[in-house]
Amino acid sequence: MALIDQYLDAVAAQLPTEKREDITAELRELILSRFEAKEEELGRPLTEAEQEAILQEIGHPLVVAQRYSGGPDSLVGPELYPYWLFAVKAGLFIVAAVSIIGALAALAGGPQTFGQAIGQAFAGFFDGAFVLVGVITAVAWSMERWGGKPRWMTDWRVKDLHAFTLADPARWGLTGSVKAGVERPSGTVKPLAVKVSAGKWPGSDALFGLIFGGLFVAWWIGAWEWPWGGAFELGDQLVTVSGAPVWTALFAPILALALAHMAVDLMGVLRPDMVRVRAVFAMGLSLASLALAWTIFQWGHWFDLTAADGAVAQVRGGVELLRWDALDAIDRADRTLAGQAQVLGTVLSFVLAGFGVTLVFAVLGDLAKVARGR
């Protein structure tokens, strides 16, 4: 089949049946005209590569077909986007609140451990968030295509806008030490009774780091357990995941590093203005993390998978697995204990390598902070 036919087939497959013939006939005519003009310029027939270059200039079949569709070319257009964003933010806030309240209730009245309650709250939040974003996007998508908007979008009054100010994190005490807000010419309009402030508190990243660091340390020293008990089903038997000796050997350095991270984060919470000092410490910690990650990488043996019948397979990784054909091999891996160990080893090798790259960027980012002081 000629290139032009392959291209037009790909476009035609995306078009409505009733328009397909007409549009592809016109596109064919355009393409042939382009081919002829180029042939005339070169004084010879075009090679396949030259024809392909012209087709690429015309555009990818999916893009070309979409332009002919005449409908909206985005899930949520610019007119609806502010409403979509507000609904998502408000919905996520409510889902998070419900998850936290649920976790507290489970801790207060149920037999669950702290770890189980936190794990269920996270799982509940992510499940709820996915459904919420999906439903809101589907509603916006249908409004984009078939029109129709609720009355509050088109027929609103200023006195009904109070609910929208709740989107400001400062209203919930989450930010506020940075002066910001709406400036008005003095003496012209009576200031709003509601104090509006915005902007991100510079210590917020450090606070989140401190909380997650605390959770990690609690888990690392065994103060609470992740509800997923480190086991999964493979075929008809349960496979248990256990750590390799590397984690026992590096227990103390990892704990020390996590505590040092928490100390730096605490500094960020208490003195967010000390950007340079914090960046120097953070840079040192990133370099130490990089060395630790490299040690783990070199170790090679990270976990053991133990089947119910006593069979054991080692999850091993290393530089030799950072290849495309190793990723390809994931698809072909069989559902045996050894096959799953190989898949996990490959995935973890890439995750660890990605972590290393992230740390390098973190060091560069901290260097920039040291230089700029912000």
């Binding site: 005519e29 555009g59 005449g70």
Partner: protein, 109 residues
Amino acid sequence: MPVDGGLFEAMRLELRRGSLVLAVLACLRTERYGYTLRQALAADGLEMEESTLYPLLRRLESQGLLLSEWREEEKRNKRFYRLSPAGSEMLEALTAEWRRIGASLDRML
């Protein structure tokens, strides 16, 4: 401070987008098929991608501003477009609006 090339390009495209319909309508006072229309636009300094031009022609036709006809020329079937009576009126109205905007901007710039 030098002009940010990427930002300038984005703003240039935005500025130009509104003028494309007017240019296409003006060019189709003379009957043309897609390829020659694109060449005519380019000759007057308005390059337009095929993937933008052809769907635009269909949209203008579905809005009743253009008429089209398949006809054989140089041993190939081609779709020829020309301005419809409603298209001529629209072109006149849009031209007046374009000149009004141009005059306003000239006073400001």
